[in-house]
Symmetry: C2
Subunit: 347 residues, 2 copies
Amino acid sequence: MLTERQMLVLEAIVRVYTEVGQPVGSKSVVDFLPMHVSSATIRNEMVALENKGLIKKTHSSSGRIPSFLGYRYYVDHIVQPGVVPAAELVNIQNSLGVHFQKIDEIFAESTKILSDLTNYTAISLRPETTESRLEGFRLVPLGNHRIMAILVMSSGVVENQTFSIPKSINGSDLEAVTRLLNDQLIGLSLAEISMKLRTSIPVMLVDYMRRPDGILDVFGNILKQAAREQVFVGGKSNILDFATDSNVDELKSLYDLVDTSNNKNIGDLIGIQGKPIQIKIGEELTNQLLDNYSLISASYDVSDHGQGVIALLGPTNMPYSKMIGLLDAFSDELAKKLLDYYQQFDK
Amino acid sequence: MLTERQMLVLEAIVRVYTEVGQPVGSKSVVDFLPMHVSSATIRNEMVALENKGLIKKTHSSSGRIPSFLGYRYYVDHIVQPGVVPAAELVNIQNSLGVHFQKIDEIFAESTKILSDLTNYTAISLRPETTESRLEGFRLVPLGNHRIMAILVMSSGVVENQTFSIPKSINGSDLEAVTRLLNDQLIGLSLAEISMKLRTSIPVMLVDYMRRPDGILDVFGNILKQAAREQVFVGGKSNILDFATDSNVDELKSLYDLVDTSNNKNIGDLIGIQGKPIQIKIGEELTNQLLDNYSLISASYDVSDHGQGVIALLGPTNMPYSKMIGLLDAFSDELAKKLLDYYQQFDK
DNA sequence: TTTAGCACTTAGCACAATAGAGTGCTAAGA
DNA sequence: TCTTAGCACTCTATTGTGCTAAGTGCTAAA
């Protein structure tokens, strides 16, 4: 258990360290504290905090920096969400206020706004997609033996892919296949569809086409794509700013990590969201590369369309208070915007 | 005009520098040359080359490195395309030999193969798209007042976008609009379509929908997207390996430059292709950031589907001979593959 | 024209010296 | 018992110094 003063000292160390980026000495803490005590007193308190494992030195005569446990204690017991300046809030509202044609654009743009606002990397997860179900399926002939397959999900997601069929299948066959797939698959979740595609569907298709593999591949591809496109990342290159040493290989690995174009699933970092605001620090991110990073994630509900998550990936020594406040406000605005969007279709 | 021996010395300096990465001294040149002369002789030749501006020193007593002019002279008058090892050729053929559903996949995959092969960044431009014409246009209702617009181009490109219409338009209106747009736009190039969209089309649409802006916006968007998706980049992160100093800001800018997701048009680097193989060195790339990079681009013809370009972006001191040979062979294979692909539909 | 020889230049590295920031401990004061 | 001034001590970071290796330009002889 920490005394009142020890909490103040810990807070001082965390906050000064996030601002200055240098180990914090006893004198700096004195300057930061509301009451007056001597630096010797602070040194004694620091020894106590160090014994509890909350702060550490970088070398025997250096100032202190928060340890992993120290950050943890700070975010669990000390930090208060910062107040978002009115100007910034208006800024967010304006940025989100424009009209979007596709729901994807809302997510893509919101991560971009958030990363520009913070200079960190922003990650957005769509509202609850395990709940999303197939709403419709189309096969559109494009001429020249090519066909576009379109999937419409209840979450508002639309996925599509073009593919070619080796020999001409006539139009009524195509319609029959479309009807068949619609009958069989509508109302099912992605996982259930995946299952049926491997079991009952192939047998049914043989009536209409000699080799149904092609269209099944396409379906499989679209499903994979749908899963990947649940995650949006903005400000990818910002992550490079906080690499410990600017070793090029490390930088490349970091960028790969957040680059959604290469099938990495950065969404896994975020995991299940219990509380509205959740913070993972350094080693909690279970990736060697991210030992010096923290992730603040905020979940939000969009009425009955499920729960989305938006998160910030920044250095462990980021200004938590400010960022928590910002993310909180931002997720509120985003939820409102999404609700608006869905209401276009709901009534 | 250079003497025979001066050309040999210049070649030695370029080639040793590309292998070792260090300024080349007179003794190293002696070791490289086919005949025997003393280092003092080489030093005299080096003074001559330096006076012509083909090589330079990094400091008063250092070895020499090629200057911009020196590279230029080397690639224009000295270098011979390297022979591609049979094993590597087979490797390329195998990698390109698999079946692709979409033409996009061929381009995306080929840049990936090429960048893996070289550890540089590979850039691919689709065959001649100024020649590409609209082949078909579809509007597909997805339910819930949403519509997907699909454009099929003669180049094999398929672009699509979903959008929402504020109030329900009935099915026959939609068909009429589709028919109208097909009548008016098929056979036109992207540029011509762009034009018509701003002039005659809006007037015609008013009969079917009160506010045709929505669909016109969508059309505009798709066209923009089609233009952007002419460029494919593989091995983006490889560009970081050759930054002069690993200053993080510079690295971020480099990433941004090759990241197609942010509307930058790296395709502009390549420009119009006169010769089958074209090499741009350092400052010729007209981008401060790329002063230490060179671009080797190879153009290829796909019968009457126009001319494509595939290029490598690497450090100025890359092994030109080897890379030219490789790129030459690679573009041949790619052209064959594309021809195969188009022939699926042509007959 | 080529070459050996030599004086000269520079980068890069190891090493020492110094200043500055910060700590822990002790002893005295409240 | 808690707080504080004072001081010795530790470590980093910076600056300067000397040395070595690599390479050059020049000269004079072959």
